[in-house]
């Protein structure tokens, strides 16, 4: 099996339009936008993590720019940044054969936007106003496809759509393809876009949530949810490929675990399964984990409660408390895009020996949360994600 490393990151989100800028984040709360009043706002004080000014012209042709929707534009921008940072895109072409570069994208909700844009004439009985150019944007895989078209990538290509954890699913898929020798380089990313329909869904889901104050991390109390959008793309490649191309890896992928706990599993049972099965599949022991890049989103949703409780259980009973951070505190919850951002933050922590802080940490937090940029051990990093309904997707990283 091949050793797989992460060599570059591209990221656009509510905080920054590139990865380097995001890496300079301090622990201050970002400036989120007010929830649009005409988009099912759940009430006074509701906020979203939206983007504006996505540079469509940096990589896409004029024709593609005209038709591209926001999720496609964000994904192409992040992918282009990652390819450039990895030395794989120069002077309008890839520096290795595009046939050898895989493209794996994860996403949870883009169909809401594409569905409405194309489908409204049908739904409102004006079939004559259908615009066929918009039809492909209903497909969940359109962002992945546009990345392939823009950068001429004909390698293995797929789109994972398993809910908010899809970004980690995409990384795990890329890891499998790389370690088995099916390709030498892969883009693995996550992308999400806000739309009126997605905000309506969020508003109905958060109907009972607190909308005052701020999001609150790791304390278990009700925190303000922040639906957000963005795209994060990693370049993964075999260590052989990285060395051949003289690229310094950020981190090495040690393993991935994707599965489910039975619904209603007690936290002790879940933690036992986590230690017995999930951690070994991620290639790490708990004691090796120097930093946890957590999927917590600052709310009291079952997913946040489950993950916080699990991490507390492990820290308490194993006598080891890794530094924990939550990148959604800096960008809002962009679901699949955020789950890939978690991996990027973890990789950067191992590379630099310090981890980005978490904003809005609850005063009741018992975990060893990074409140400022903190030094971390470079043994290993864990990317964690739980969806509250039993599904989990976790990734293990180690220093390259």
């Amino acid at each position: 099996m091949q050793t797989v490393v992460i060599t570059a990151v591209g990221a656009v989100n509510a905080r920054s339009m590139d990865w380097d800028s995001f890496g300079e984040a301090d622990g201050s709360a970002p400036s989120f936008a007010p929830w649009p009043a005409d988009a099912w706002s759940p009430g006074e004080g509701a906020i979203i993590g939206s983007l504006s000014g996505v540079d469509r012209g940096r990589y896409m042709s004029t024709m593609d720019q005209r038709a591209a929707d926001k999720v496609t534009a964000m994904t192409v921008l992040a992918a282009g940044q990652a390819l450039e940072a990895a030395g794989l895109w120069r002077d309008g072409a890839t520096t290795v054969s595009g046939d050898e570069i895989a493209t794996i994208i994860g996403t949870s909700r883009p169909e809401f936007g594409g569905f409405n844009k194309f489908g409204l004439p049908v739904i409102s009985g004006n079939v004559g106003r259908i615009n066929p150019v918009l039809f492909p944007y209903m497909a969940r895989s359109v962002a992945c496809g546009q990345v392939c078209i823009t950068f001429k990538l004909r390698g293995y290509s797929t789109n994972m759509a398993a809910g908010p954890l899809s970004g980690v699913h995409a990384i795990a898929r890329a890891w499998d393809l790389l370690r088995t020798g099916r390709c030498e380089v892969a883009l693995a990313g996550g992308t999400e876009c806000l739309s009126k329909a997605s905000l309506r869904y969020s508003a109905r889901r958060y109907a009972a949530a607190s909308l005052t104050g701020a999001p609150s991390y790791f304390g278990g109390e009700a925190g303000k949810p922040v639906p957000a959008e963005g795209a994060t793309v990693l370049v993964l490649e075999t260590l052989e490929s990285a060395r051949r191309r003289s690229r310094e890896p950020l981190a090495r992928v040690t393993g991935a675990a994707i599965g489910r706990y039975r619904s209603g599993t007690e936290i002790s049972e879940a933690a036992e399964a986590f230690a017995r099965r999930t951690l070994p599949a991620c290639g790490l022991s708990w004691e090796q984990v120097g930093v946890v890049s957590s999927g917590v989103a600052g709310t009291d949703r079952p997913s946040d409660q489950r993950e916080t409780a699990l991490l507390e259980w492990m820290a308490d009973r194993r006598g080891h408390a890794p530094v924990v951070t939550a990148c959604r505190s800096l960008t809002g919850d962009a679901e699949a895009a955020s789950s890939v951002l978690q991996a990027a933050v973890a990789a950067a922590a191992l590379s630099q020996g310090s981890v980005l802080p978490t904003a809005n940490v609850s005063p009741r937090a018992r975990l060893n949360v990074a409140r400022g940029r903190e030094a971390v051990r470079r043994d290993g990093a864990l990317v964690t994600g739980f969806d509250g309904a039993g599904a989990y997707a976790c990734l293990g990283l180690a220093a390259a």
Binding site: D99, T103, S108, R109, E111, F115, N116, F118, G119, L120, V122, I123, V127, I130, N131, P132, F135, P136, M138, A139, R140, S141, V142, C144, G145, Q146, C148, I149, F151, K152, L153, R154, G155, Y156, S157, T158, N159, M160, A161, A162, G163, H169, D176, T180, R182, A197, R200, Y201, R205, I258, G259, R260, Y261, R262, S263, R277, A281, A389, G390, A391
Partner: protein, 417 residues
């Protein structure tokens, strides 16, 4: 990669012929067209009103353990029926399994939830009161991963699980993911499943790009002019050969390998020369370790659009060259329509049945061969032949291409069963 071999031990299907693999297989072998006018919504505004919907009677038969209303979404309901059949056929009850991790699950779908989303959007567009809103489907049922959650929870599938949505390539793509999970040891057994439905918006979309025929689907015919959208679900249980033999399961076929690619050409059109599509096929053959002279049959994507059939034939010809006339090719979309995300799964089931029984369903409505096609189109009547290895292709919007190679059950396994 590893020496773990992956075999098919159970299958389930819901199709325009009704419920069950038997109905599906017999219907296609008989060459029965399931295309008919869509009645679920008013098709008058559209260029074509043809489809291949699942009969209303599915789910009403006695003994159906899954209730449509309880599931809450049509495609997920069909998928539940298919998975129930597949698990029963495989002799597996995940709730009784002591495997750790448990049996995995991968779902493939394009537009599951779309019909519910249409109802909700229509209600919001027309303006309804709170009482009417409360009667609408749950928002959760419109989420793309709803089907995955339903299947995993209902059937106790606690192993590795994910959902793949690469438009009409989803089913074959998902089978490839499942193959890797079993081969790499993430689990010993896994259910590959998915369902898709005809929705008004999707029907409108395919009509708007002139992909739907106004007459009849005629894959590979010189005068072909499109497909009809089909509905249905497919499910396959795959597991290691060792595990299947140990529990004396019936082994239907072996999954030998798969390949994926992106044509990187256009969001809706296939590549003009088939080169993008051929990459997926070449990778499939390479991972399967199957020689070009061992492939006897191709279960084609075969949508019957002018461009798709041409690019698929060019792709195949670039690989098989002079062997083309020796290779049988068919498209069951000619009969059951194009079931989108579920198509690859239903075609995988059909390919498994072909490999196992030596029978190939026909491509109906085939009258005038296309000049560029030198493959043996199984036209209008089923054909018998021994199949050593078969390929099943699926291509989707956004340039996604997938191909799986399926072979006969391992020789020793035949003796066991």
């Amino acid at each position: 990669m590893t020496d773990r071999r992956v075999v098919v031990t159970g299958m389930g299907a819901v199709s325009a012929y009704g419920r069950g693999v038997q109905a599906f297989w017999e219907g296609t072998l008989d060459g029965r067209s399931a295309a008919r006018p869509i009645t679920a919504f008013d098709t008058a505004p559209f260029r074509s009103g043809l489809g291949a919907p699942v009969p209303e009677s599915v789910g009403l038969a006695p003994g159906v353990q899954v209730q449509r209303a309880a599931v809450g979404e049509e495609a997920a309901f069909y998928a539940c029926l298919a998975v129930a059949e597949a698990l029963e056929a495989a002799g597996l009850d995940p709730e009784q399994s002591d495997a750790d991790p448990g049996i995995g699950c991968v779902v493939a779908t394009l537009c599951a939830g779309a019909r519910n989303l249409e109802r909700i959007e229509r209600a919001y567009q027309t303006g309804v009161d709170e009482a009417a809103l409360a009667a609408l489907p749950d928002d959760e049922t419109t989420l793309v991963d709803y089907q995955l959650r339903v299947l995993c929870e209902r059937f106790g599938l606690l192993g590795p699980s994910t959902l793949i949505s690469t438009a009409c390539a989803s089913g074959t793509d998902a089978l490839g993911w499942g193959f890797d999970q079993v081969r790499l040891g993430a689990c010993d057994a896994l259910v590959v499943a998915g369902g898709d439905i005809i929705s008004e918006v999707i029907h409108g979309g395919f009509n708007s790009v002139f992909s739907i025929t106004q007459t009849r689907p005629r894959p590979f015919d010189r005068d072909r002019n499109g497909f009809v959208i089909g509905e249905g679900a497919g499910a396959l249980v795959i597991e290691t050969l060792e595990r299947a033999q140990a529990r004396k399961a019936k082994i239907w076929a072996e999954v030998l390998g798969y390949g994926l690619s992106n044509s990187a050409y256009h969001l809706t059109a296939p590549s003009k020369d088939g080169s993008g599509e051929s990459l997926a096929m070449r990778r499939a053959l390479a991972t399967a370790g199957v020689g070009l002279d061992e492939v006897d049959f191709v279960n084609a994507h075969g949508t019957a659009t002018s461009h798709n059939d041409r690019s698929e034939v060019l792709a195949l010809a670039s690989i098989f060259a002079d062997r083309a006339p020796e290779i049988s090719i068919t498209s069951i979309k000619s009969m059951i329509g194009h079931c989108m995300g579920a198509a690859g799964l239903m075609e995988a089931i059909s390919t498994v049945m072909s490999v196992n029984t030596g029978q190939i369903p026909p491509t109906i409505n085939f009258e005038q061969p296309d000049d560029i096609n030198t493959f043996q189109v199984v036209g209008n009547t089923a054909r018998r032949r021994t199949i050593r290895a078969a390929m099943s292709n699926s291509f989707g919007f956004a340039g996604h291409n997938s191909c799986v190679v399926i072979g006969a059950p391992p020789a020793a396994a035949h003796l066991e069963t």
